[in-house]
Symmetry: C2
Subunit: 190 residues, 2 copies
């Protein structure tokens, strides 16, 4: 899976994007999402409203784009010694972040995008994180992850429960990881 | 799990709800969702705008409420002879309905509701359908379903893939059901 980015780094286009994203971030600290308008964002970013309309089309698409950027993980998954413990630590953090008020609002913004391209970018970030855990496992001499199976067995239930039911607790995350990697991953020497 | 309904059947309140829902349904046949406004809906439904504001608060909440009603399954799951084949038939239909353009738009409307109550009602409908399959299995003398596990193993991956990736095909639905009910449910006499 390839994570498509809308704009290449560097150049005028990237500077405009960074400036508009920063303006949205700053304004969301000060005002309610419902009060945001494209002219207000444009003024803050130092660009014309038509620049924003040309690139993003509408406010929903812009907010969705900003939300995806925020959903991008800041770092590699923590190295805790085994694939299973890495996956467990990752799943607990994912459940916690996505079920926070900010996380839910971001997911809603991403979902509200009519193109669905942003939703795929989100899933792409998740895929990359799981692939990193898998690559590290193989480098240790462990079996790698079946990333597609982990999406179905761990990621999907966490997201479904956050969106439609209630956030899963740590015990539930643990049970999901145990189901995905049964019996695997005692720490070496443990 | 209890599916909470906003209004009891019968009475003036239920008639207003039915009339407003019917107005939204009819208007959505004629115009784009983006053009809908509460005054337009009120006129069509023969109520005052303030009646709608009082009950639903805003347009997003009303559209979400209508979407949940549409997501309510029309019938019991088909009886195909075994719990496993019932679950497979149900999962295929669920994936097909939810990944249609109408289905995705409905999910987005439900998700856009700030209260999240509607999302829980949706999941409640799903839970009821799975429970019906389980009850029927027990009546046949088969093992019932672990409905919570089926939510995690079958429903969640279907919904996650529709929302964030790509709709699962029939083979994928089959693999999810096989994982949830391994080896179970050859048709009797088959």
């Amino acid at each position: 899976m390839v994570v498509k980015e809308r704009v290449r780094p560097g150049g005028r286009s990237a500077r405009i994007q960074a400036s508009v994203h920063a303006a949205v971030d700053a304004l969301l600290e000060q005002m309610d999402r419902a009060e945001l308008t494209i002219p207000v964002i444009a003024e803050r970013a130092g660009v014309t409203p038509s620049t924003i309309y040309r690139r993003w089309g509408n406010l929903g698409e812009l907010l969705s784009d900003v939300a995806v950027k925020r959903l991008r993980p800041a770092a590699e998954p923590a190295d805790t010694g085994t694939a299973k413990s890495d996956l467990l630590a990752w799943a607990e953090q994912y459940a916690e972040e996505m079920s926070s008020e900010v996380g839910r609002a971001m997911i809603r913004d991403v979902m509200a995008s009519p193109t669905e391209n942003n939703a795929e970018r989100c899933c792409g970030y998740t895929y990359e994180q799981l692939q990193a855990i898998s690559d590290r496992a193989e480098a240790r001499g462990e079996a790698g992850l079946d990333v597609e199976a982990v999406l179905d067995l761990v990621v999907a239930p966490i997201m479904y429960r956050i969106l439609f039911l209630a956030p899963p607790d740590v015990a539930h995350c643990r049970a999901l990881v145990e189901r995905a990697l049964p019996g695997q991953g005692q720490k070496r020497g443990g």
